[in-house]
């Protein structure tokens, strides 16, 4: 199953910005998303932004990357500039949101 474009983008950015290799970077992001209650296949850009701010810095510190906060801020700034936008809703909660607009 394909992972979402924002997930792939974040993993690529993390790999470039830090000393983490591809597998470790993807593993770190997967763990952070799981702890945040998110899934790799439908995580959105705005959710990635929150994870970058609130969860990823601690995960990077735990992996020995001491300037993880700065890396996350830098990636978050690029994410904001890039503004890939969120894809139309395919997550389970989108059904309930649609029903609310009856």
């Amino acid at each position: 199953m394909a992972d979402s474009a924002p997930f792939e983008w974040l993993c690529g950015e993390l790999e470039r910005a830090t000393s983490l290799d591809r597998l470790t970077a993807r593993g770190a992001v997967r763990i952070v998303l799981k702890h945040a209650g998110l899934e790799t296949w439908n995580v959105t850009s705005s959710q990635i932004g929150v994870v970058l701010q609130k969860r990823l810095p601690a995960e990077l510190r735990a992996r020995g990357i001491h300037d993880g906060d700065a890396h996350c801020r830098s990636i978050a700034a690029r994410l904001a500039a890039l503004d890939p936008g969120d894809a139309p809703g395919t997550a389970p909660e989108d059904l309930f949101r649609r029903l609310e607009r009856r």
Binding site: M1, A2, H35, A36, G37, L38, E39, W41, Q47, V50, V51, K54, R55, T90, P92, E93, L95, F96, R97, R98, L99, R102
Partner: protein
Amino acid sequence: MGAIVAIGLGAFCVASAVLGTRLLWVARRTRELPEIAIGISFLLAGALGFLLEVVAQAPGSALPHGAVGPVTAAGKLTIDLGIAAQLVFTWRVFRPNRAWACAFAAWSGCLLVASFLGQAVGGFSGRQLYGFWFWVDFTGRAAAPAWNSFESLRYYTMLRRRVGLGLADPVLAHRFLLWGVGSAAGFGMFLTGLVARLLGSGGPFSNVSVLVMSSLGLFAAVAYWLTFFPPAAYRELVAGAGDAKGAGV
């Protein structure tokens, strides 16, 4: 006891009919498969099919002997179509990109088709209903609400984590909890029939099992209703509880 049973099963049937109609009404605008599937499921399995099976198999049924088979067949067909719609709903909502989920839904659907054909060969007689095809039918039927419940409750735990990060609305998260426990109650209704049969207490529609089923039906009806159409007072109650929890952190 008759009144309690009537209230429980009646509430389940009426709530299913109203919910199914309202969901299909919403689907007219959204044109999305999940709304269509779950609307059909409520109407066929929860309202029409369940009613037909109860009428056909309840002790002391007023149906003429010759009508029991056809009414049972109609009830089974209607429920099976509704269950199949629920399988499609769960697959498309919770695991749309997973091949195993599609395969599981298809496998469960095949069990329903096989059991219908198997029972049709026996003319939907009472004995046939409790034979080999009963187990095939039960497996196919129970899989849908059990899977739906599991996925909803799993998603609820995920949304609870997101609430802590400000990524999800506590009321929305709570609706997945309601949907999960409502589906679990639906699964319990199937299970009750099975347990009654295993205990030999007079078939799945004996008085005790019907009482338990009606209680579960009433519970499921309330949970489903609050899931899809929560009144403002209920929303405020859940949101208030979420705020109090957040303030306590």
